[in-house]
């Protein structure tokens, strides 16, 4: 089970937020790393949603239940309130209909967890100031080949949740896998936000 030690740092923080025996939906789950870990460590049951067939192949190998689907077209396969937690990790910035997916997350689950690269991170701001589009650890693409179409800052995301009738339950900002307590919107490269319906 060496796989269990290699959980990506942001996934480890998400995993810490999820109590044992929860029901979890992981959107854009890749090869099911998070769910496989949660199943073994916390007896969590759940589903992954993944569009890429290689991810699906990996999930099946990891014993993770997976539904191959494009979540842009919604989560209509899933009934209301079928999960305790719905996770969307490092994907939201590449989606078209962000408001739609946030609503879908709190329709099928009680609590949503989103992680995204913080565009307000000082390194990004500095690169913009120097007259170029940021390329960094959490935004590793050039402007012409990036799948990311909707960048936001920690503050922007909080505003959108508020506008969507959702409230932040807990928020964490990281830089290189470490928590950032001071000036998070400036010093954090990666944000984790847990939210519910108001």
């Amino acid at each position: 089970m060496s796989k269990l030690k290699t959980l990506r740092p942001d996934l480890q923080y998400i995993a810490d937020w999820i109590p044992p025996q929860s029901r979890v939906l992981d959107l854009g789950c890749g090869d099911g790393e998070l769910l496989a870990w949660l199943a073994v460590q916390k007896e969590v049951s759940g589903y992954g949603v993944e569009i890429d067939v290689n991810g699906v192949v990996g999930c099946v190998a990891n014993g993770v239940n997976v539904i191959q689907s494009d979540m842009e077209s919604g989560l209509s396969t899933f009934e209301d309130h079928s999960f305790d937690y719905v996770v969307l990790s490092l994907t939201i910035q590449a989606m078209h209909n962000i408001e739609g997916i946030l609503q879908e997350m709190v329709r099928v689950g009680k609590t949503g967890i989103v992680t995204f690269p913080n565009f307000g991170f000082w390194e990004n701001r500095w690169q913009i100031l120097m007259g170029r589009m940021p390329v960094s650890e959490t935004i590793p693409f050039e402007w012409y080949n990036t799948p990311n179409i909707h960048f936001c800052t920690v503050n922007d995301f909080a505003k959108l949740l508020n506008k969507s009738g959702l409230k932040i339950d807990h928020q964490l900002v990281l830089n290189q896998g470490e928590k950032v307590e001071f000036l998070p919107n400036l010093l954090g490269s990666l944000a984790l936000v847990r939210f519910n319906k108001v």
């Binding site: 589903y47 067939v53 290689n54 999930c59 190998a61 239940n65 191959q68 396969t77 899933f78």
Partner: protein, 379 residues
């Protein structure tokens, strides 16, 4: 890991059942035979058995060859064998010819012991449920109390689904490939055109053509040609045949000109010689009638709530006869019924027939899923 290889030479066996069976139609068959093949070894606690259910025109010969120079292996030879996704080094795989078939199991072309003549029109309609019942009896005979998995594509997938509902205790995993919870009106329409081709053939003789020493070849051929078109995708057919002409120029007549015409006629002719028309009628009706939700107030969720198995549902993007949307209905109902399911939608240009083809991601999913089952039964 050893390289996948063919199971090699195989032969069919026959199971004889004297215990009468009451079919869904109410008809009682006092006696019937089932022809089947097995690959691999049944383990000591009989926990590694896999049932592979065949589709419309399939039979028990799913893998291997009958002789060294046999050019045509079983219909799912790419999937079943040592080191293959359904690994016969680990599993004991059973393929059988369904009741009503024409490859050895009792069917319309078999001799009716009561008359000494082929059953013909007297052979009753058989439903998917009836097949599952006969398959269960075969499992009992072989000492298998629970299948590690029941697997099927198309009409075979319907049998697997039915297994999970009717005998939930007897199946651990249910693999439903390129299938649907019930046919659409369009699907039934295609089936009826195929049936009408057979029923209106002057050589059909009300289903008793055996006594007339003839076969409704024209009808069966048309039925197969139509079926074949619906099993392929427009793109796949276009890529393979396009508008290619056999002679290179138009001849302004009704003889074979386009390659696709030649291909379909060849396939139709071949099929009409080896398949029984009554069996074709019976199998298409079984497809039309299949609707497990019917006895649950048309609620598929309620029907699948009976199931205890874990499911793998697979569909193919260009399959328009059993489209991914139909597989998603099954997935959605399983999720609502709180059953465990994984779903894969495989990119393919081969239409409905894709489930018989060797496609790397498709086979990788099947392989990984089957390995998971193997691990489970080893525990």
């Amino acid at each position: 890991m050893q390289l996948p290889r063919s199971i090699g030479l195989v032969s069919a066996q026959k199971a004889v059942f004297d215990e009468p069976i009451t079919l869904s139609s109410g008809t009682i068959l006092p006696y019937y035979e089932l022809v089947y093949e097995t690959y691999g070894k049944l383990n000591a606690d009989a926990s590694n058995a896999i049932l592979v259910c065949h589709a419309l025109s399939g039979n028990h010969h799913a893998a291997g060859r009958y002789s060294v120079d046999d050019k045509n292996p079983g219909w799912w030879d790419t999937m079943i064998g040592p080191g293959k996704p359904i690994d016969t080094d680990k599993f004991f795989v059973i393929g059988l010819n369904n009741l009503g078939g024409c490859h050895g199991s009792t069917g319309p072309s078999s001799i009716n012991p009561a008359t000494g003549q082929p059953y013909g029109s007297a052979f009753p309609l058989v439903l998917v449920r009836d097949w599952v019942e006969t398959q269960k009896r075969l499992a009992d005979r072989l000492g298998i109390t629970q299948f590690a998995a029941v697997i099927g594509g198309s009409l075979g997938g319907m049998q697997a689904l039915r297994w999970s509902i009717t005998h939930p205790e007897r199946i651990r995993h249910c693999l439903v490939i390129a299938s649907a919870p019930k046919l659409t009106a369009q699907n039934i329409a295609f089936n009826d055109v195929a049936r009408q081709a057979i029923l209106t053939d002057p050589d059909f003789h009300g289903g008793d053509y055996y006594q007339h020493n003839t076969l409704p070849r024209r009808g069966l051929r048309l039925a197969r040609m139509l079926g074949h078109i619906t099993y392929l995708s427009d793109d796949g057919m276009g890529e393979k045949f396009g508008r290619l002409l056999r002679s290179g120029e138009y001849k302004y007549g009704f003889e074979v000109e386009f390659e696709i015409e030649s291909y379909l006629r060849y396939q139709g002719d071949k099929f009409a010689e080896v398949f029984d028309a009554n069996t074709y009628l019976l199998m298409t009706k079984a497809l039309d009638y299949f609707d497990p939700a019917r006895h649950y107030n048309n609620d598929l969720v309620a029907a699948l709530s009976e199931a205890k198995a874990q499911f793998l549902v697979v569909s193919f993007t260009t399959d328009w006869r059993f489209s991914p949307a139909r597989s998603k209905e099954i997935v959605k109902a399983l999720l609502a019924a709180k059953r465990q399911v994984s779903y894969a939608e495989i990119e393919s240009e081969h239409g409905h027939d894709a489930f018989l083809m060797e496609d790397p991601p498709y086979h990788a999913i099947m392989r990984n899923y089957m390995q998971r089952i193997a691990k489970e039964i080893a525990q």
